[in-house]
Amino acid sequence: MHTLNTKSKKGMKVNLYTSTISAGFPNSANDYAQENIDMNEFLIKHAAATFLVKVKGNSMKESGICDGDILIVDRSLNPSNNSIIVAFLDGEFTVKKLRRIGRNLYLIPENKNYQVLKITRDMDFQIWGVVTFVIKRLA
């Protein structure tokens, strides 16, 4: 509630309330008012390193990543075992689950119709970023 100081006819200071006061109880919910939820803040931890990617195809279906979904990819994160990553492989981008078994790295699809791929030395392989969220349009 804001107050304004103004002078009354007799030159005395009177406080005027700028918010309207209606009869009855004051709205106590105002005391608990907060800022809106900021989706950027929730979804993006490292803005300079975060990119959006659109998915084509269904090889990751069982992890909930389907054709047309949008992925939030954070390049600043280090992938851990079983992270879903965007990778660069022999001139193409792909999205797969990264798994380390012993000294070997594997790219695991999440769809029975696709094959597991072992990363070998002769491949041109680089991790591009770690997928942090999936955005799906439902309505």
Binding site: A49, L52, K56, G57, V86, E92, T94
Partner: protein, 428 residues
């Protein structure tokens, strides 16, 4: 005296690197980026540099080489480059609180208020983190002056043994001089092609030669700026970190046309559009201008009648209003426009720029303050609306609506980071 340590960070082949972040197919291929209208080469991958194509070569002169080496050619996607640049600069702020963004792909950091044991290691940390976060490869030069940091960077780029980072502060005088004698004077910060040519006629060929040249002679022949450059090379700082760059001296807005402009109507439209862009820039830095220069030229690479001219219009009162500036720009155009030529380029330059709180009024001119204030207010509204809804949603009628002359950009990549409909698509 307190010693300052500067780190200069420079993005390698920046525009090419931006394209490569989103396009793995071109990671190991020769790539180049062309200027507005696909006019000439403005960025080259290392492969293209090795082929021998120089910066600024007109695109049509590269046709055969493009075919022969299968060079991947892109139009300049400034929306993408600007966003990637912001990301790089944002990242850099993690490494120092004092940062000067020097250009779209370069920044100076002051390493003074941080406890760093090993500058080389710190530089490597910067380089690796920028690459990890943004995908942009950078080089780092570290030295006690900006001038030396620039030279350190040159050395880094020439010699792969440094792996992208060189701490020049670790060298003693002899070691430093041995490196400086390998670098041409043209690579000195502040020495242009004209000065370097002059220096060479006097036998000053390398950075080392310049470092030890007679100071008085330099001052006499290259002014006090030249002297400062020489002092910087001797490790005496003359240029500080400029976190808040001074208002620009001149503002230029120009571009080549996608199609030759023949009609005066079209030219007026183009001049008005560029004036609008320039005056918006002027207002954004809270300044006024009192000189407007309008220039037009034909395509010098075509076998056609050639003509180029510029009109210099001094305004009675300094102004930042698009309405005033457009009026004067069109008066200028009227003076220089000639029928019968096929024009390739036009532009406007604003000069005599002064802060809006310190404008000099003309004694003999009736200055209508009320009217001016009204107009200023209108301009601010227009700018804020344009900012919110996109440039050009509100404009003067003289800017026109058809823009038959607008840019030609055939090989434009997508705006991967700023348009939701253009984000990277991945086959999964």
């Amino acid at each position: 005296m307190k010693r300052t340590t500067f780190a200069l960070i420079d993005c390698n082949n920046f525009f090419v690197s931006c394209e490569r972040v989103f396009n793995p197919k071109i990671w190991n291929k020769p790539v180049m980026v062309l200027s507005n209208n696909d006019g000439c080469v403005v960025a080259r991958s290392n492969e293209v540099k090795a082929i021998g194509i120089k910066m600024g070569t007109p695109a049509f002169k590269c046709k055969d080489l493009i075919k022969k080496y299968n060079i991947q050619v892109f139009s300049s996607n400034y929306t993408l480059y600007a966003d990637m640049s912001n990301r790089v600069m944002e990242c850099l702020k993690q490494f120092a609180s004092d940062i000067e963004i020097y250009s779209i792909d370069e920044a100076f950091l002051s390493l003074d208020n941080i406890y760093i044991k090993d500058f080389q290691k710190y530089g490597l940390l910067i380089k690796n983190k920028i690459y990890k976060w943004t995908g942009i490869p950078v080089s780092v030069g570290i030295a006690y002056t900006k001038g030396l940091a620039k030279i350190a960077l040159k050395i880094v780029k020439k010699d792969p043994q440094y792996k992208g980072v060189l701490d020049f502060t670790k060298f003693n005088r002899e070691e430093a001089d041995n490196l400086l004698q390998e670098i041409d004077v043209i690579d000195i910060w502040g020495i242009g092609p004209a000065h370097s040519k002059k220096l060479k006629t006097y036998g000053i060929n390398t950075v080392k030669d310049f470092k030890y040249a007679n100071t008085n002679w330099i001052k006499k022949n290259l002014t006090v700026m030249g002297e400062r450059c020489a002092l910087e090379l001797n490790g005496i700082p003359c240029f500080e970190l400029e976190e808040f760059p001074a208002p620009q001296k001149g503002i230029c807005s120009s571009r080549s046309f996608g199609y030759p402009v023949v009609k005066k109507d079209d030219m007026e439209e183009a001049v008005a559009s560029y004036t609008a862009i320039a005056s918006e820039k002027l207002r954004s830095q809270k300044s006024y201008a009192n000189i407007i220069i309008v220039f037009i030229k034909t395509n010098r690479f075509k076998k056609e009648p050639q003509y180029a001219n510029a009109a210099y219009v001094k305004m009675i009162e300094p102004t930042s209003s698009t309405i005033d500036l457009t009026k004067y720009a069109l008066i200028g155009l009227e003076k220089v426009f000639k029928k019968g030529y096929r024009y390739k380029k036009c532009g406007v330059i604003l000069e005599g720029i002064q802060p809006s709180d310190r404008i000099q009024l003309n004694m003999f001119n009736f200055y209508n303050h009320k009217q001016k204030q009204k107009e200023n207010k209108l301009m601010l509204y227009i700018d804020s609306i344009n900012k919110q809804w996109g440039r050009g949603i509100i404009k003067l009628a003289s800017e026109g609506t058809k823009k038959t002359w607008s840019m030609k950009r055939y090989r434009l990549s997508k705006r991967f980071t700023t348009e939701i409909s253009e984000i990277l698509e991945i086959e999964v």
